[in-house]
Amino acid sequence: MNAPSKKPKSSFRRKFLIGTAWVGGGLAVAASVGGALAWRRVSNAQKFMLPVDHAKGESSFNAWLKIAPDSTVTVAVPRQDMGQGIYTMLAMLVAEELDADWTKVKPEQAPLNPVYGNMTALVDGAPPAMKSMVGMVSKVLGLQATGGSTSTRDGWMPMRVAAASARAMLLAVAAQKWSVPASELTIEKSIVMHKKTGKRAPFGEFAKEAAALTPPANVSLKSQSEWKLLGTSPPRTDVVEKSTGNAQFGIDVRLDGMLYAAVKHIDLVQGELQAVRWKSGAAPKGVLHEVRGSDWFAVIGASYWSMQQALKDVELVGGGATAVMLSSSRLAEVYERVLDGQDGDLSPIAKPLRRTFAEKGNTLRMIAGTDVAKRVEAKYSVPFLAHATMEPMNCTARIRDGKVDVWVGNQAPTIVQWLAASAANVSGDNVTVHTPYLGGGFGRRSDMEVVRQALACAKVTGGKPVQVIWSREEDVKHDAYRPAVTCKMSAAFDEKGGVGAWYHAIVGPSVTKAFIKRLNPMLAGDDPPDKTNCEGAAEAPYRSAFANFQVDHAQVDLPIPMGYWRSVGHSFNAFFVESFVDEIANALNKDPYLFRLELLKDEPRFAKVLNAAASAAKWNTPLSPIAGGKVGRGIAVAESFKSIVAQVVDVEVIGKQIKLRRVVSAVDCGFALDPENVKAQISSAAIFGLTAALKGKITLKESQVEQNNFNDYGLLSLAEAPEFETVIVNSGDALGGIGEVGLPPVAPALANAIFAATRKRLREMPFVM
C-alpha cells in the first residue's frame, strides 16, 4: 500500500487492474469499454465529494463515504432499498474495508451524480436501450437505477476501493501523529491500534486531517480470508425502523401546507382522456383544483380520503388513437396464429417481428425429419401480471421559486429527475429527488408515470406541496404489466434415443421497448434486440447437450402498458424450459433430476447446484402421503442475473386444491456476502413466483383490466406459504445477483411436482387443476 501524500488532488492518478469480469458479461461492446469506464468511474468518485453535515463535523473522503469525529461512517448508497436489503449490503462493503464498527455505519441515499451510475445494469443489457434515449454514453453511465439484480455487483469494486482508500488516509494520519509506520497499524471496530506501543484511538479522531490528504495511488483490497463482515449477516440497518412504525415511505411524507391529490385513470388500460363529466354537474365541495392529464384526472384538496370520495362522482371518457380494443381471448388467438406462422389476420395486432436469438446446427430440419413418435411438443402460456407493491403508487412534489422537490419511492432517481425537470420546464440541476424507503419495487417503481402526475398537480397549487396517491384499484388496473407470453417447444430424439434437437419459439412483446415507449415514444425502437425476450431460453443450460438448438422470438407490439417485473423474461422462460425438459424426461421414462444431470454433464456449476438442492431435499426419500390427496416432488434449475438456483418443490394436491408443502433451494451467487439475506431473498422471490403460479392473472376485456384489488388479484398468505430451506453453494465464481434469482425455477418446479403427484401437466399459469 502506498502512503497517501499531500500532492494536489488534480495530479491524482490511480492504477489498478480492473478486468471486465466484475462488471459481468453481456454485451461485448459494452464489456470491452467496461474496464476503462470503471477506472474513470473510481477516479471520478475521488473527485466528487459526498456533501457533509457541518454540524456533525463530518469529513467526506470521496463520493462514497464520510466519517464524523465520533467515528460514525455514513455510506452513500446510490441504489434504492425496496426490501432487498441493499442499504445494508453496500454499507457492508465499505465497513469491511474500513474495519468499521457495524453499529456505527449508516447508509443514506446518495445524491444524484453521474459517478453513481449503474454500469452493471448497462453492461447487463437493460440500459443499452436507454443509450438511444439519451443519445450519449456519458449520460447513460450516470443512470442511477436499481434493477437487474445488479447493485452489489456494481458497487463491489468502487465502494471497496473508496473505503480502502479512506482507510489508508486514516492510517497515514495516525502514523504521523504517533510517529510509527503506517504498516504497523491495524483497525478493529473503528479503533486504530499500534500493538507495539499500545496506542489506540477511534478513527474518527483522524478523519478531518485524513480527508484533506490526497488519496493513495494504489490500494490493495482485503483478500477473502481477511474478511470479518462479508460472509456474515450483521443486523440489517433498516429492521428496527421497520419494526417500530418509524420507517418513512413516500406515502408518509408530510410537509407544511401539503395538499393531497387522488387520481383516476380512464377505464381503458391505454388511451386518451377525452372528457370529464361530474355527475352532479360540478366538482364536490372540498375540491380545490382539478387537473387533466393524458389518460388521467386528478382532484386536489386537503384530504386524500375526501378527494377519493369526490372521484366517485366523476365520469371519464377515454378513447383516441392510442386506444386499441383488445381482449385477452383475442390476444390468445393472435398468439396462437403467430406461433403457427400465420401472420394473416392478427387485428388489432400488427405483423410480428420474427428473429432468431440462438441457433446451433440445423434444428428445424432435424425436427421436420423426425417421426412424430420420436418428438415431444408442447405449448405453454403465461398471463399479464401486476406488481402489486404493498405501498400504492404515490409521489409528492413541490414547485417553488424555480426549484422542484420530488419525494417518491423509486427505482431510478435519474429518471425521476428527467421527468420532473421536463414537466416543470426547469433544468435537472433545479430538481431535488428525495428517495425514502420503497414499499416494494419489483420493477414497478422504475415506471414513474406518477411523477408526471405529481408535477402536473404541483403546478397548480401555487407553491404548495401536493401528494398524489393511487388507490389499489388504480394500481391493479393501470400498472405497467409483466406481459402475456406464449411459446411452443419441440424436441426430436436422435438414433441413440437422446435429444438431438431442441426448438423453442416464443411469442410476446418487448418489455424494454414498451418501457422506453412510456418514457418517450419517439425513442422506442427494435434495435438492438431486447434480450429480455429470450433470457433464460436462448442460453438454456442444456444447450451444450444438444447438437441442434434454436430459439426464435416473434415480437408483437401490444397496446398495453408493460414494464419490468421481478426477473423479467426469466419469469416465464424458466417455466417454459424447465417444464419442457421435465416432459422430455417423462417421455424417456427417466428420473427428472438424473435426466437434468445427464444433460448438464458439461455444465459442472449447474450440476453442483442441482445436486445440492436434490440432496438437501432428499430427492429419493418418498413424501409422506396425505389422506384424500396426492403428493409429488418436482425439480427445476435456472440461471438468472449470473446466479444459479435449483429448487425442489413438494406439493399436496387435494381435489382441485394445490397445497405447497416445502421449497428447498440451492443457490450459487458466486459467494454469499450476506448469507441470511441471500436466504431471505430466495424465499421472497420464490413466494413471488408461487403467487404468480397459483394466483396471478391480469385479463383484459375490451381493453379494460378485469381485476380490481386483492380480492381478485390475490397474494399468497402466511397459511399458504410453504416451509423453506435454502442451501448456499459458494462456488467462488464471479458475483451474481440475488434479489430476483429465487423466482424463475419455482413455478416449473411446482408444475413438475404437480405432474409427479397427478400425472397432469399444467402448461398454463396460473395453475388450475
Binding site: 432499498d81 412504525g245 415511505f249 404493498m390 414499499g439 416494494g440 413466494i687 406459504a721
Partner: protein
C-alpha cells in the same frame, strides 16, 4: 363532526366526517403514519390497529364507530418500549420492504395478548394480513420466538 376517542393512551378529538375511515383520520388528522394504506377493502391488513384491544382493519372502519373507544397504533406500542413481537421481529430480521410490517405486528400482538400459546394452525387462521415481499418464513420463526419471549416475561 367532533369524535372523541383515546389514541395511544391520550384523549383525541377528531373533527372529521363520521364516515371517514379511521385509517385516514390517523394518517391525515392525527399525523400517525405508521398505520398504512394497502388496499382500502380490508383485505391486506396493512391498516391494522387495536380498537379496545382487538386487531381491527381501519381502512373501512368509520370514525363514528370508534367514538369513546381506545385505539392503539404501532406508535403506541413502540412508545412503551419494544414488545415481545417487535423484539422477535428484530431478532429474526423479518422486514424486507417493511410496508406491511406494522399491520402484521399489530395483528400478532393482539393474537398473543389473547392466546399466549397459539398452535401453528391458530396463528395461520388469525394472521391473514398480506406481505408482498413474502417474509412469511421469517415471520413464522418470529411468532414462535415472541411466544417464547412472552413466556420468559417479555411484554
Amino acid at each position: 363532526m367532533a369524535i372523541s376517542l383515546t389514541v395511544n393512551g391520550s384523549p383525541l378529538t377528531l373533527n372529521v366526517p363520521g364516515e371517514k375511515p379511521l385509517l385516514w383520520a390517523l394518517r391525515e388528522d392525527a399525523n400517525l403514519v405508521g398505520t398504512k394504506f394497502g388496499c382500502g377493502i380490508a383485505m391486506c391488513g396493512a391498516c391494522t390497529v387495536h380498537v379496545n384491544g382487538e386487531a381491527t382493519r381501519t381502512c373501512v372502519l368509520p370514525c363514528s364507530a370508534v367514538a369513546g373507544k381506545e385505539v392503539t397504533t404501532i406508535e403506541g406500542i413502540t412508545a412503551k418500549g419494544l414488545n415481545a413481537v417487535q423484539q422477535a421481529w428484530i431478532e429474526m430480521q423479518v422486514p424486507q420492504c417493511g410496508y406491511c410490517q406494522s399491520g402484521f405486528i399489530m395483528a400478532v400482538t393482539a393474537l398473543l395478548d389473547k392466546n399466549a400459546n397459539p398452535s401453528d394452525a391458530e396463528v395461520e387462521a388469525a394472521i391473514t394480513n398480506l406481505c408482498r415481499c413474502g417474509t412469511y418464513p421469517a415471520m413464522r420463526k418470529a411468532i414462535r420466538r415472541a411466544i417464547e419471549l412472552m413466556k420468559g416475561g417479555a411484554k
